[in-house]
């Protein structure tokens, strides 16, 4: 039991302890810093519904990302058996950060120093060395709202699409005393050490009903003309799964650190969970606008305005029983009505041509994080495209990207390399993305 608890606790600390932004699956977008592509490229209509109405360019295409990261993953899969000497929890945690889609060209190594624990009658200190960098400096909040592909059809400016939605958030924190202890200070008498972890996640599927069209359009909006486009998307969804957990692990030292009676670890957790049978209706609204004139464009998309879901959840509590120390979980109520919310996110973007370059930038206000992207593309003839970009990631580190596109008739190949810090050490890694493009 302790071993499983430890494994779970480690994964919570490791995965909850770092902020991460997701992989970019479009190689063209990845090469351009992950920016919202001008003129409604891949992923644009998800970020800003008004892009559904923006006229496509002659070079528009649909793309097929290639999961080249699967090759090394399948050739040398990680060890999932914790009893195996090859089991490596750092590797598993990094796999959660980096699902094997893009090929990881360079991954920072896990810290490998010895750690030292010093014990005396009233003295306890731990020296973690570089390992302590794995723990968040203070409060660590991660989260995301993921809208899946939305296949559907449209009639004039109206459209109907089916789409999944996944939302998760996690908030991990240590109190000052525990933070100090992790930093190597001695444990103190008469002191409470506490770790708090709050998380929730929900998944739903449903339909998007919307309208996106031009409010104003004169001439060629990419040339001397003008275009102003707007869109709105109502989400009518049904909840499939919901879970939240509010956990506290704490212990308080006595007059002596090593008194005769062991220190009691107090664990308290409160959970709510529901499956498809407990899922109710959810509703939300996305709106967006795009303005185009003189070869430039500016867009603003605001998603999940007032998105809520109704659930009937099972409520339970968990704690360690004071006498036996056994872990106990009790269901205290069933079919409890609960309304969950999905946080509102926003994307503001702009793009223009500067000489031979198409330059684009955006600012994304996500869940507990703000990220900006900047990218540029230039074409050498009709065959070759060169791209570069940069972005500030969820760890507030500046990352760089570059890539190329090769078009042969109606088929193209896109390659991109990008640095990132999606790893436990929050150090720079490098990945390769690839995709096929099929031109109209």
């Amino acid at each position: 039991m302790l071993r499983r608890t430890l494994t779970l606790a480690l994964l919570v600390i490791l995965v909850g302890g770092g902020a991460a932004s997701a992989q970019t699956f479009s190689a063209r977008r990845m090469a351009m810093g992950g920016v919202v592509l001008a003129s409604g490229g891949v992923g644009s209509s998800g970020a800003n519904v008004a892009y559904r109405a923006v006229p496509r360019t002659s070079s528009s295409c649909w793309t097929l990302p290639l999961p080249i990261g699967l090759i090394p993953f399948l050739a040398d899969p990680p060890e999932f058996d914790s009893n195996s000497p090859d089991f490596n929890i750092y590797e598993l945690a990094n796999l959660l950060y980096n699902p094997p889609w893009n090929l990881q060209l360079r991954s920072p190594t896990a810290p490998g120093n010895d750690i030292s624990i010093t014990i005396g009658k009233n003295h306890l200190a731990v020296d973690l060395g570089d390992v302590k960098n794995l723990f968040p400096e203070d409060q660590s909040r991660i989260g995301a709202v993921l809208n899946g592909p939305a296949p559907g059809f449209g009639i004039r400016h109206f459209f109907l699409a089916a789409a999944p939605l996944v939302h998760f958030e996690n908030d991990l924190s240590f109190n000052d005393a525990l933070r100090d202890a992790i930093d190597g200070e001695e444990f103190r008498t008469n002191t409470t050490y506490e770790m708090l972890d709050r998380g929730h996640g929900q998944a739903a599927a449903g339909v998007h009903l919307g309208w996106a069209g031009p409010l104003v359009q004169t001439g060629d909006p990419r040339g001397r003309g003008l275009g102003f486009y707007a869109g709105a998307r109502v989400k009518l969804m049904r909840g499939l799964a919901y879970a939240d957990a509010d956990n506290s692990v704490a212990f308080t030292t006595a007059e002596e650190l090593f008194a005769i009676d062991p220190v009691n670890i107090n664990y308290v957790g409160r959970f709510h969970e529901a499956g498809p049978e407990g899922g109710g209706l959810g509703r939300g609204l996305d709106v967006g606008v795009v303005w185009m004139a003189g070869g430039a464009e500016v867009g603003l998309g605001v998603n999940d305005i007032g998105t809520t879901f109704d659930w009937r959840v099972k409520e339970s509590i968990a704690y360690n029983e004071p006498i036996s120390g056994d872990y106990v979980q009790q269901v205290i109520a069933r079919d409890v009505p609960l309304t969950s919310t999905v946080p509102t996110t926003a994307v503001a973007n702009a793009a223009t041509r500067v000489g031979r370059f198409e330059v684009a930038g955006d600012v994304v206000r996500g869940v507990n994080v703000t990220i900006w992207h900047l990218g540029a593309e230039t074409r050498l003839g009709k065959i070759l495209a060169l791209r570069a970009g940069a972005f500030v990631d969820a760890n507030e580190l500046l990352q760089y990207t570059a890539g190329t596109g090769l078009r042969l008739g109606v088929i193209g190949v896109d390659l991109a390399v990008a640095s990132h810090s999606r790893n436990l050490a929050r150090e720079r890694g490098l990945e390769l993305g690839a995709g096929l493009a099929f031109y109209h």
Binding site: I89, Y90, D114, S116, I117, T118
Partner: protein, 188 residues
């Protein structure tokens, strides 16, 4: 879970769960658990006679309970252990020797029923101060004791007096008793 320092154990497990060959180094300051009044023994006068007088084993520390970290044995696999003992001896008059023995056992066993972990002789020379500093490896039985929640400890002294000359008078003081445990990851 009725345990001490679970979060600390999680931290230790975290460090050990990664790749590579990094270790957990556990330093246990055993001497700190002993009351200062039992860390030194004064002896004498022990008269000279032939054969020399021997005191037999006298308990300096009689069955002291040592509280350690709970749960460490679940995550750590001990690779080696060594015991560092240092002592200071001051001999006023006479000559002889003192044999120090350290015994350690689990919480269900009296330490004096086990074989000593450390056994070392301090030679006492009239009018001289002697510093003893030894580090000795211990076996796996002892190693396992230091990753348990609780262990028991005894320290004995055994004095041998002079065969001739002045009676023996002096003092032996324990300066350091420290266990250095090197552990690797136990699968979990």
């Amino acid at each position: 879970m009725r345990t001490r320092g679970l979060i600390l154990i999680v931290v230790a497990a975290l460090a050990l769960a990664g790749c590579g060959d990094h270790d957990l180094v556990l330093n246990v300051d055993v001497l700190s658990y002993l009351d200062p009044s039992v860390r030194a023994v004064h002896f004498g006068p022990v008269p000279a006679m032939s054969p020399a007088l021997v005191s037999g084993e006298q308990a300096l520390v009689d069955d002291e309970s040592i509280q350690l970290l709970d749960g460490l044995d679940d995550v750590a696999d001990v690779r080696s252990i060594s015991i560092w003992l240092s002592a200071f001896a001051h001999d006023s008059t006479g000559s002889g020797s003192d044999t120090l023995r350290i015994y350690a056992s689990d919480e269900n066993t009296h330490p004096l029923t086990t074989t000593p972990v450390v056994e070392t002789v301090v030679n006492l020379v009239a009018g001289q101060d002697t510093t003893l500093d030894v580090t000795v490896p211990a076996d796996s039985r002892v190693a396992e004791l230091f990753i348990q929640r609780r262990m028991r400890l005894s320290v004995t002294t055994s004095l041998r007096g002079p065969e001739s000359g002045d009676p023996l008078n002096g003092r032996v003081e324990l300066r350091t008793i420290e266990a250095i445990v090197i552990a690797g990851r136990k699968a979990f």
